[in-house]
Symmetry: C2
Subunit: 698 residues, 2 copies
C-alpha cells in the first residue's frame, strides 16, 4: 500500500487523481442557483425579466475576492456580467441579477478571482495609518497599478486579460508615479492609489488574478407572454345559444363568440381561452349537473371529446367551420389577443381513435376498453389513452393534432390534467413543439401535489395553474405569494385564477361582489399571469351541492349571458382598471421582487413589488403597493407599516419624516405615505388600494 | 417556423429533442440526496454505518408505484436494495437507509417502477366489496399472478426480470387457480390473491413494470475510525520535562511520552495526537505566553517549524530519533491506539525550504520574504507557503513529507489551519494520498465560517473540528447536535473537543470540575468522534488575559504534569467510563439517528441515539439516552419527557403505562422510565445520566 518517496519531486509530476469535472476551482463557487436536477434541466427565465443567480463563494486566508455572475446568450456570447454581493454575511452567499433580452437556450456561470487591488487597499490603509511598512506598501501599490495597466495578473501564466483603455492606463501609471513620489506625505501618496478614478477603473476593468469559472448551467428563456398574460376563458357554444320557438336549444357559435372579443379586449385581457371545441361523444354522455343520463337536448361535456364528426383535430359542427375558427383567431389578433385552446388528451367512446387505434387504450381481461376509474368511481364517458401502448403512435398523433391547431393560429394550449399522463411524454413533446414553434406556450392544469406541479413546470410547461384559489387567509396568501415569486420561480410560472369552470371555493359563495372584486385584485396584482372564467362579472357563486364548482355548470349545458349587463356589479370596470394598471406598471409584469409589509389587522394584507430602473423597460424604477381588506363584509380600519428600506422606491426625507407619493390606480386619488399609515377599506366602497409610487423628483 | 403535419406518423419516428441524460424517467425520481455539487463530489459514508437516501418520487394518475434505493459496491455489484418509504405524505418525499460494509468508492441510485400488484390489490378490494366488475377483477388478478410467476412485466419489451423461485411460482399459480374457481365466493377468491404468502412474494420479488433507474451518484466510504474515534492530544516535550540542578529546562522526549500510553489507553482513547514534533526555528521565536522576545530557555512554539536541524520531515533533536518515534508508534499500537501527527504547513524563517526554495514563499517589493500578517497584526516567526508559486514543487514536497510519516506508521494527520491553503490543493492531495493509502485519515482544524468548513469535508477531509466548544446553551447545543447528525453528515464528520491548546472558552473558566465533566459527557455522547487535550484531567481553566486560551500555554513552554494525581477531580475515572460506554454501545459510534426530548428546565438537556438491529454490529437494537444538567453550580430538579415512539427502543406496555428499563452507564444504577420522568442532577454528585436501554424481553 505504500509508495516510495520521490527524491526529486519536481522532475516527476504526479497524475492528478481528481477527475477534471470534479475538481474544485482555485477560488470555489459552490451550491449554484438556479440549477435543476444537477443542471440537466434548464431553469426558467423570461425575456426582459431579471432573475437572481446565487452561489456560495469563499477562499483560503484573508485576501479579497471578486465574484461575477455571467449570462451567456444562445449563440454562446457573453451577454451580461454582474458583480455578485454577499447577501448573507457569515454564510458567504453571493447574489446578482441577470436579464436575458430574448427567448432561447441561455446559460449562466459564476466567475471567481482574487482581487489584489481590494487586498492592497485594505492592507495599505491600515498599515500606513499605523506607520508600518509605508514605503513597501506604496511600492507594492505602484507595481499593482503597473500590472493593472498592462493587464498582467499574477501568477505568470494566468488567464490573459484585456489591458485597460489608453486613458485608463494613463490614470493608473500616473497613480503609480504619485505613489512613488517621496516628496509627498504617505497619506497623499496612498490617496493616489485610492482615488475614485482609480477605484472606478478597478471596478470596470478589474485585475482578475487566479481567475476561474464554474461550469455553465442552462436557462430556458421564454417570450414575455409566458410570464405576463391576462386570460379570459369562454365556452364558445354559450355565445349566441338560445332556444328556438319550440324550446329546443340552438348552440352558440365561434362567430357569435367572436362578437364579444372587443368587450373582452377592452377589459385588457390578452389571451382568449376556449374550452374544447371538438365534436362531443354520445355514449355515456353526461347530462345537466353531471347526471349520468343526458337528455336529448343536453350538449354534453366538451371534455368528452370525439364522435363520428371527428376527434381532437375537428371542430364541433354546431360551433362552425375551420373558416369560422380562422376568422375568430384573426379577430382576436386584431384586438391584440392570442387564442388559447384546451388540450384534453382523452377520448369519448365515440372518438375515431377508439375504432382506428384500439391499441392506444387499455384492453381489459374481457376484451372491453377500459374507461376512466378511481375506484369505486367510474367515468364511463371517458377512455384514457394508455401512453405505454404504442407510445410512438400516440406521440405522433398528438403532435399532428397540436401542429394542426398551430397552423390555424393557436399559440397557446391550456393542457387539461397533464398530471395524468407520463411526464416523459410531456418533456419530449414540449421540447419537440418548441423546437419548431418556440412561440407556443403551454399552461399546465395540474391541481395536484407540489412535486408533480413543480416538475411539470421544470420539464417544459410554460405556465401553471396554482393553489391560489385555496389560499384565503392573510398569512397563507402572503406565504404563497412569496413562495411562487422566490422559491419556485425557476421551476414554474404561476397563473392565478379566482375561479374556473371546475373551481368555486366556499369563500366565493358568500361575500357577494366584494369577494369577487377582492380575489380579482389579488390575482391580478400578485401574479404576472392571471385569468378569469367568463361570467365572473355576474358574481356566479352558487355551488352544485356537495361539489366545489358552479351549479348548472357550463360544462354540461349552454349558459348564454346578457353581456350588456356585465358591469352591473362594477366588476367589468374593476377588471379593466386592474389590467390597465398591469399594463402601465412593469412591477406587475414580473414575478420576482415581492415584499411583504406589516399591518395592524389580520384582515389587512399589504405587499409591494418593484422593478429597479436597470431592469425596467421604461428605464425608470417602478414600485407598486397593494393594500387589501380580506373581509368582504366589514369595513376595516387599521394601519400598514411600510418597510421603506425594502420598498425599492425613492423616498423623500423631510421634516415630516420619510414620505412617498402614491396614486391609487383604481380611482386616481393621491396619497402621501410614510412608515406608518392609516388604512380604511370598506368592501362596499373599495376592497383594496392598488398604489403606484410616483417619482418624488418629477 | 411551422412544420407540415405528418400524414402517416407511425412510419416517421421523430428525433427525440431531449438529450438522453436530461430525459425524465417514466416514473420520476428527482431531488436525490445525498448529492454534492451535482454529484461531482462524493457524499460521505462510513463502513458499518447506515445512511439515509432520499428522493422525491411521484407518477401520473392513480396507479401504485415502487421505489427502491440501491447501493452499489466498488466493484459495481448491487450490494443492497431497500424499499423507500414516503416520509412526508403530500410532499412525495421517500427515504430508505443503506449501509456499506467496507471502505471504497461506492455509488447509489434510485429505482422506480409501476407496482401492478399494489394497484390491483387496492382496486380489487374496493370493487369486489362493492360487487362491481367481480369476475373481471378476479380474472385480471389471476393473470397478474401468472405474469409474476413468469417474471413478465408489461408492456412487452420491458426490462427483463428474474422469475421467482419454483416454490414461489407454485404459490402464485395456485392463487391464480383459486381466483378462477367460480365455486368459491368472490371474497374467498379475492383472499387467495391477497394472502400473506402472495404478498410476501410480491414484496421480495416484485413484478416491476415500467422499471427505470436514476443515474448513480458517488459515495466515498471510509473506514470506521474516520467516524468513531477518541482522541487524546499531547505535547510530547512536556513528558519528562524537568529543570536540571541549575534550573535549566530539560526537554521531555517521545520515549517519556510513550510511558503514559498505557494510562491513556486505559481511559479508552484510541488516537494519540502529537502536536508538531519537528525542529523549531529561532528567528523571531515566541517566548512564554506568546511574548515577542523568547528567553534563552524558551523552547518556542512547535508550530514555528524548521531549523538547521530540519523541517517537516525531521524530528526535533530534543524529542529523540526516528527509532524513538517508531518505538512510540509500536507501543501505541500495542495499546490499540493509532498515532495522529500534526500537519502545519508553514515555516519558520529558519526552515530549510526557505533557503532551498525561496520561490515557494511570497517575495515582497523589497526582496524580503513575506511573513504571516493580518494587518495590523504581524507573525514574523512564520512564513506562509505561497501555493500559487511553483504549485507542483510544493505539492510534491508536502506529499514526500506525509508519505515519510506514513512510512513511519502515522495513520492520521491533524491538519492545522487547512482553510488558509487552497482547497484545490487539498482536494488533489487527499485523493492522491488515499489512492495509495486509503487507511490514512485527515482531520481538518478549520475554525472558520460554515461554507469553508463543510467544503473542506466535502472535498476529502475525513473529520472536522466543529463549533461544539462555543455551543453552551440548551437550544444551541441540541440544534447543533441535530445539524451535524442530519444536515451536514454527508459533508463532514464532526469531532467534538471541549478544549484544545488553542481554545479555552469563557464557560470553562468557571464551574470547576463540574463543567469539565459536563462538557466531556456532551462531547463523548453527542459525537462519535471526540477528543481532549492532555491536562483536561486537572481542570486547567485559567485564561491568558484577553485571550480564549490557557495561560502559560504549552505552545510556548514545557508543562510537565503529575499524572499520578490525574484522577484528583475524578475526571480520569469519568473519561474511562465514557469511553467504555461508547465502546459497548453502537448507538454512540454512529452519527445519524439522534432524537431530542423535552425537559421542564432550560438547564436540563435530553437526547437519545439509536441503532436498529438491522444495522447494528451486535444484531440487536441499541438505544442510549443522555440527560444532562448544564448548570455546573446548582442542582436542578425537573422532568424529562421521552417521545417513546421516536426512541427506537422496545417499550413494555403494562398497567403502569409504557416503561423502559435503563441502566446508567456512569454508575451502574438501574431505572425504570416512562413518558414523564423525574430528574435530579446535582453537579457535585453527577452532571448527567448516560443511560442505555435494556432489552425488556431478556
Amino acid at each position: 500500500m505504500r509508495q516510495a518517496t520521490t527524491k526529486n519531486p519536481a522532475s516527476k509530476p504526479q497524475k492528478n487523481p481528481v477527475a477534471p469535472r470534479a475538481r474544485i476551482t482555485r477560488i470555489p463557487a459552490t451550491e449554484l442557483f438556479p440549477v435543476i436536477e444537477q443542471g440537466l434541466w434548464p431553469a426558467k427565465a423570461t425575456e426582459g425579466e431579471s432573475f437572481p443567480v446565487r452561489a456560495t463563494v469563499f477562499r483560503e486566508g484573508h485576501d479579497a475576492l471578486g465574484v461575477e455572475a455571467v449570462l451567456i446568450d444562445p449563440e454562446g456570447k457573453e451577454h451580461m456580467r454582474a458583480y455578485m454581493q454577499d447577501v448573507a454575511p457569515g454564510l458567504d452567499r453571493y447574489e446578482a441579477w441577470l436579464m436575458p433580452d430574448r427567448p432561447g437556450d441561455w446559460k449562466f456561470r459564476v466567475d471567481t478571482w482574487s482581487n489584489p487591488y481590494a487586498t492592497w487597499s485594505h492592507d495599505a490603509t491600515i498599515k500606513i495609518a499605523a506607520d508600518t511598512d509605508v514605503e513597501l506598501m506604496l511600492e507594492e501599490g505602484a507595481r499593482l497599478m503597473e500590472r493593472a495597466a498592462a493587464g498582467k495578473p499574477l501568477p505568470a501564466g494566468s488567464r490573459k486579460q484585456k489591458a485597460p483603455s489608453k486613458e485608463d492606463q494613463a490614470v493608473l501609471l500616473e497613480a503609480a508615479a504619485l505613489m512613488r513620489d517621496k516628496e509627498s506625505s504617505p497619506q497623499t501618496r496612498l490617496s493616489a492609489g485610492l482615488s475614485s478614478q482609480v477605484r472606478s477603473i478597478f471596478r470596470h476593468s478589474p485585475l482578475r488574478e487566479l481567475w476561474t469559472r464554474t461550469k455553465t448551467f442552462p436557462i430556458k428563456v421564454d417570450r414575455k407572454k409566458a410570464l405576463y398574460s391576462s386570460w379570459y376563458e369562454i365556452f364558445p357554444r354559450s355565445y349566441g345559444a338560445h332556444r328556438d320557438d319550440e324550446g329546443n336549444w340552438i348552440s352558440g357559435t365561434l362567430s357569435e363568440a367572436a362578437k364579444q372579443l372587443p368587450r373582452i379586449s377592452q377589459m385588457g385581457f390578452d389571451v382568449i381561452y376556449l374550452t374544447p371545441i371538438h365534436p362531443i361523444g354520445f355514449t355515456f354522455r353526461k347530462g345537466r349537473n353531471n347526471t349520468l343520463e343526458a337528455g336529448p337536448m343536453d350538449p354534453g361535456s366538451p371534455y368528452g371529446i370525439g364522435s363520428d364528426a371527428g376527434g381532437h383535430d375537428a371542430i364541433h359542427p354546431d360551433l362552425g367551420t375551420f373558416d369560422d375558427f380562422d376568422a375568430f383567431v384573426a379577430q382576436a389578433r386584431e384586438h391584440d389577443m392570442e387564442v388559447a385552446l384546451d388540450l384534453a388528451l382523452q377520448c369519448s367512446p365515440d372518438h375515431p381513435w377508439v375504432k382506428d387505434h384500439p391499441e392506444w387504450f387499455t384492453t381489459r381481461a374481457d376484451g372491453s376498453i377500459a374507461y376512466a376509474e378511481n375506484p369505486p368511481k367510474k367515468y364511463q364517458d371517458i377512455y384514457p389513452l394508455n401512453f405505454d401502448n404504442d407510445p410512438e403512435g400516440i406521440y405522433q398523433a398528438v403532435k399532428d393534432v397540436v401542429l394542426k391547431w398551430i397552423e390555424h393560429g393557436v399559440t397557446i394550449f391550456r393542457v387539461d390534467n397533464p398530471h395524468t399522463k407520463p411526464l416523459s411524454f410531456w418533456q419530449r413533446f414540449l421540447a419537440d413543439i418548441n423546437q419548431t414553434n418556440p412561440e407556443v406556450i403551454f399552461l399546465a392544469e395540474a391541481f395536484t401535489r407540489p412535486a408533480m406541479m413543480r416538475t411539470l413546470g421544470a420539464i417544459g410547461f410554460h405556465q401553471s395553474y396554482t393553489y391560489f384559489a385555496w389560499r384565503t387567509e392573510k398569512d397563507e396568501l402572503l406565504d404563497y405569494f412569496k413562495e411562487v415569486a422566490t422559491e419556485t420561480a425557476h421551476l414554474m410560472r404561476p397563473n392565478f385564477w379566482p375561479t374556473t369552470h371546475d373551481i368555486l371555493t366556499p369563500q366565493m359563495t358568500t361575500g357577494g361582489p366584494a369577494i369577487f372584486a377582492l380575489r380579482a385584485v389579488l390575482a391580478a396584482t400578485a401574479s404576472p399571469s392571471w385569468g378569469i372564467y367568463s361570467g365572473y362579472e355576474f358574481v356566479e357563486n352558487v355551488q352544485r351541492p356537495g361539489f366545489e364548482e358552479q351549479i348548472d355548470n357550463e360544462k354540461y349545458e349552454y349558459r348564454p349571458r346578457n353581456w350588456e349587463q356585465a358591469n352591473q356589479f362594477g366588476l367589468e370596470h374593476l377588471l379593466t382598471l386592474l389590467n390597465s394598471a398591469r399594463d402601465r406598471h412593469p412591477a406587475f409584469q414580473q414575478l420576482h421582487r415581492i415584499q411583504v409589509h406589516e399591518t395592524s389587522d389580520p384582515r389587512l394584507l399589504c405587499f409591494s413589488k418593484h422593478v429597479p430602473a436597470k431592469f425596467s423597460p421604461t428605464g425608470e424604477d417602478d414600485t407598486v403597493i397593494v393594500v387589501a381588506n380580506l373581509d368582504p363584509h366589514n369595513e376595516v380600519i387599521g394601519s400598514a407599516t411600510l418597510d421603506l428600506s425594502k420598498l425599492g422606491a425613492t423616498v423623500a426625507h423631510g421634516s415630516m419624516g420619510s414620505r412617498i407619493n402614491l396614486v391609487d390606480e383604481l380611482d386616481g386619488q393621491e396619497y402621501q405615505w410614510g412608515e406608518h399609515n392609516y388604512v380604511r377599506l370598506n368592501p362596499y366602497e373599495r376592497v383594496a388600494h392598488v398604489f403606484s409610487v410616483r417619482s418624488t423628483e418629477k
